[in-house]
């Protein structure tokens, strides 16, 4: 099979491809890195694999890219099965954690690399490289050497290089984790915008739940090689399906309901920001007397730990309120809406 017909027509712009993964499995020795994953990513969707390190998200991404083989299962782009295809025939744009910009080529040489592999004409390569560099705000940087660029610029080159081939699928492997905090926030916005404007189906891997929530259409939370929960960001945060999901997505209070004075013998998740002081809460909320044990002023937020009469410690977070004086040892009344509690199995 030639490179051409493996990839389909060249100028098929704005092509939309869905990704379907069925029963994907991979073990390294005795460790089941990916343990039976079923997943469907819609056309043009920005889909994120989120989880702690070692959860299998990178292995799953590398299976799609073709760098890790499947022990069992299959992966399809649309109707076409691709998991037996060589990595270089899958028509994927990939952005790596450490940029992986070729140090022996110029910026333009890097961006043109995939086009040359596709035997695109020199004239067209020139045009498309210019466009791609403009898209990532690197117009005029073509002749620079990679060692002259900053980390953020290198990652833009890597993104341009992945976009310029107009791949069916874009893969991002923790692309922002080598950048500093401020740049991370602005770059994730840019990545999101680019993806939406181009409409290329994308899978994004990260361990940072805030980053995942900010960029994704949907998130798959992974743990120990399995999918823990799949859903839109708000649902995953507000309605965690499992204890792991509740704890991984931000901070939460996982307590037995009886400890909060409720009758049901279940575990519930109560987010710190869902707690309020008794005097601020609506009338129907449950109120609990407590003692503040630890106060942490973080600027826009204040965090508080308070101990209930039965010894349970609850964490609470509120926006900065200059008129309120808080200190450890102070008696407070906590309030929460019993209807908003999430029961976790």
């Amino acid at each position: 099979m030639s490179v051409q017909d493996a990839r389909g027509p060249q100028d098929d712009e704005g092509q939309m491809t869905s990704i379907v993964i069925k029963g994907a499995r991979r073990a390294f020795g005795t460790v089941r890195a990916v343990d039976g994953v079923d997943l469907a990513v819609a056309e043009g969707e920005f889909f994120t694999l989120l989880g702690p390190s070692g959860c299998g998200k990178t292995t799953l991404l590398r299976m799609i890219a073709g760098f890790t083989e499947l022990d069992a299962g299959e992966i399809r782009f649309g109707e076409r099965r691709i998991d037996k295809l060589s990595a270089h025939r899958r028509d994927i744009g990939m952005v790596f954690q450490n940029y992986a910009v070729f140090p022996n080529l110029t910026v333009a040489g890097n961006v043109a690399y995939g086009l040359k592999a596709r035997r695109v004409s020199a004239v067209e390569i020139g045009e498309r490289v210019e466009q791609a560099l403009a898209l990532v705000q690197l117009k005029g940087y073509g002749e620079r050497q990679p060692h002259q660029l900053s980390g953020g610029q290198l990652q833009r080159v890597a993104i341009a290089r992945a976009l310029v081939i107009r791949p069916q699928v874009l893969l991002f492997d923790e692309p922002l984790s080598n950048l500093d905090a401020r740049l991370r926030v602005s770059m994730r916005g840019e990545i999101r915008e680019l993806q939406k404007s181009l409409g290329i189906t994308s899978i994004y891997v990260t361990h940072d739940q805030e980053e995942a929530m900010s960029v994704s259409d949907r998130i798959a939370l992974m743990n120990a090689g399995k999918l823990e929960q799949v859903g839109v960001p708000a649902d995953i945060y507000r309605k965690p399906a499992t204890r792991f999901a509740a704890e991984f997505m931000g901070t939460t209070n996982l307590v037995e309901a009886t400890r909060l004075g409720l009758a049901a013998p279940v575990w519930v998740s109560l987010r710190p920001e869902a707690l309020r002081f008794g005097e601020d809460a609506p009338a129907g909320w449950r109120r609990l007397p407590a003692t503040a044990t630890h106060v942490e002023m973080l600027g826009p937020l204040t965090r508080l730990e308070a101990k209930l009469a039965n010894g349970t410690v609850l964490r609470m977070a509120m926006l900065d309120a200059p008129q309120r004086q808080l200190s450890a040892g102070q008696a407070v009344t906590l309030a929460f809406d019993a209807n908003q509690l999430t029961i976790v199995p």
């Binding site: 270089h88 025939r89 899958r90 070729f102 022996n104 995939g114 592999a117 060692h147």
Partner: protein, 548 residues
């Protein structure tokens, strides 16, 4: 079934195993086999070992070889470690020049150094005569003492260079922590720095020891009546009387086993003692008094210059007049006239064979080095071990195996140039694999994955991304292979035939009793042939470093 990503490594590994199997394992197997067969070559026997080990002459050869190796290693280490410390941490003037000159003994032929010492200090040496004119005499340079001296002077860079690097890699915060805890500078060196650099020192010392076990040229020049392993194996095989592959095989096998044993001991020892300290910056020079500064300067310069003196001397001697083996003090270009008149062919052979070997070594070493680094599994580990094996095999031994294996049968190579090129290639493969592997370690795997995901096959990626990134290292490797092959003696002397004599063979034959004048001219020419590419490489590397 082989998956698509594995096609490239599997192909390289299969070709690598095929090459090393045919040109390394098969000859070694035959050497081993020869040592285990009776005189008719049909029945299995251990009698050859009993016979050889029963003869005091060969027991002495083993003892001599180990004794010389141990002394040379010990003295080299004691000489090189303070040298390395001064280079890394003391204000010695002219460090760049010292470093450049200190690397030269690694590429210059050690037997030339030995020969120069004989011409100067030997029985009819010029210095000897001159001193005798004053009524002064000194001990003999022949025998163990002379051999150890030449080894120390030519092998000390093996300890010096890695130890300098190790001293420089010690994170300065280690020292600061020790001093902060109340340790004096001297105690800090002894209790913190030396233990950290010890593995590097030992690795270098091991190289020295193995080199002494394998070296053929130096003992051939200096041993006289003292039997030495590698020389006796050669004599038994080439034998003025009847060639004796069985006895040569016994010595060769024992030599391999000794080297292998040393390597195993080293691995055991070093495995539990690997300290990695990541120096963010090179530790600063120590502030020392004027006396210490002067002493260290004199010491470093003295070692470097004394080690190069024999090479310098031979160049001077080559412009003096010889009558037979006897030297006269007049300036003359006759030696070169004779050399170019009769031995132009040998010079051409050396250049051709060295180029062939450099090409062969690169073609084998670079892909194998890539695979053993990138492809982590049992087959890759085995390939790595096999590719390192020539390191433990003396040139004489490998050559004997080549003659036994390729003198008849379906693949006959004896008598031509190819057998020399193949033997050189096999001998240099470990160095090429190690250096290629070190470079590949520096190349981030995701660069290759990026290339593949952009549509280049693994093979194209290897050629378009990996090879360009390795180019600097590959170039140095080619030059180093080229120059060390140009002065190779131990396997050449077994494998050359009639018209395929090399410069080293010309020298070797001159030593055996031909004209000393031609030998000095050949040695000078060899030094020039070695230094020119090294100088070019040095400039190239410098430009490369400035350019990036």
């Amino acid at each position: 079934m082989i998956s698509p990503q594995q096609r490239l490594p599997v192909t390289i590994a299969v070709l690598g195993f095929a090459f090393l199997g045919l040109f390394l394992l098969w000859p070694l197997f035959n050497v081993f086999g020869a040592s285990l067969l009776d005189s008719e070559g049909t029945r299995f026997t251990l009698a050859n070992y009993g016979k050889m080990l029963g003869r005091p002459f060969y027991r002495t050869a083993i003892a001599n070889t180990l004794e010389i190796g141990a002394w040379a290693t010990l003295i080299t280490t004691l000489l090189a470690v303070p040298f390395a410390f001064a280079m890394a941490r003391l204000p010695v003037p002219g460090k760049a020049a010292i470093l450049a000159m200190a690397s030269l003994p690694l590429v210059l032929p050690s037997f030339v150094s030995a020969y120069a010492i004989v011409l100067m200090l030997g029985r009819s040496g010029i210095v000897t005569h001159w001193l005798q004119g004053w009524g002064l005499g000194f001990g003999s340079v022949y025998g163990k003492g002379g051999i150890v001296t030449v080894y120390v002077l030519t092998l000390y860079p093996y300890v010096l260079l890695p130890t300098i690097a190790a001293f420089k890699a010690v994170d300065v915060s280690m020292e600061e922590a020790a001093q902060n805890l109340g340790s004096s500078p001297a105690r800090t060196v002894r209790t913190v720095i030396l233990p950290i650099v010890l593995p590097a020192i030992l690795a270098g010392a091991l190289l020295v020891f193995i080199e002494t076990l394998e070296n053929f040229g130096v003992p051939f020049v200096l041993a006289e009546d003292q039997p030495i392993f590698a020389v006796e194996a050669f004599k038994l095989f080439i034998g003025e009387t009847a060639p004796n592959p069985a006895s040569a095989g016994v010595l060769a096998t024992l030599l391999i086993l000794t080297t292998a044993l040393v390597l195993v001991i080293q691995r055991r020892f070093l495995a539990s003692r690997r300290f990695a300290t990541n120096a963010r910056q090179v530790p600063p020079l120590l502030k020392v008094g004027r006396a210490a500064r002067a002493l260290s300067t004199v010491y470093c310069w003295l070692v470097v210059l004394v080690a190069l003196l024999p090479f310098f001397a031979i160049v001077v001697l080559s412009f003096l007049e010889f009558r037979g083996p006897v030297l006269h003090g007049n300036f003359s270009t006759d030696n070169f006239a004779h050399l170019f008149g009769r031995e132009m062919r040998a010079l051409g052979n050396t250049l051709l064979l060295a180029s062939g070997a450099a090409l062969g070594t690169t073609l084998v070493g670079v892909p194998v080095g890539y695979v053993v680094t990138r492809w982590r599994n049992g087959a890759a580990t085995l390939l790595d071990v096999v590719a390192m094996l020539p390191f433990a095999v003396a040139g004489t031994v490998l050559a004997i195996g080549f003659v036994i294996s390729f003198n008849s049968g379906w693949l006959v190579l004896t008598g031509g140039p190819l057998i020399l090129i193949l033997a050189y290639t096999v001998r240099k493969v470990p160095f090429a694999v190690r250096s290629a592997s070190a470079i590949v370690h520096q190349i981030d795997l995701s660069l290759e994955e990026a290339s593949v995901s952009l549509g280049r096959s693994p093979a194209e990626t290897f050629l378009r991304i990996v090879v360009p990134l390795m180019l600097g290292g590959i170039t140095s490797g080619i030059v180093l292979t080229w120059v060390t092959v140009a002065s190779e003696l131990s396997s050449t002397v077994v494998l050359y035939s009639g018209q395929w004599r090399t410069m080293t063979v010309v020298m070797f034959q001159a030593l055996e009793g031909g004209s000393a004048g031609v030998a000095t001219a050949a040695a000078s020419l060899l030094i020039v042939v070695t230094l020119i590419p090294i100088a070019l490489l040095y400039r190239l590397v410098k430009r490369y470093e400035l350019g990036s």
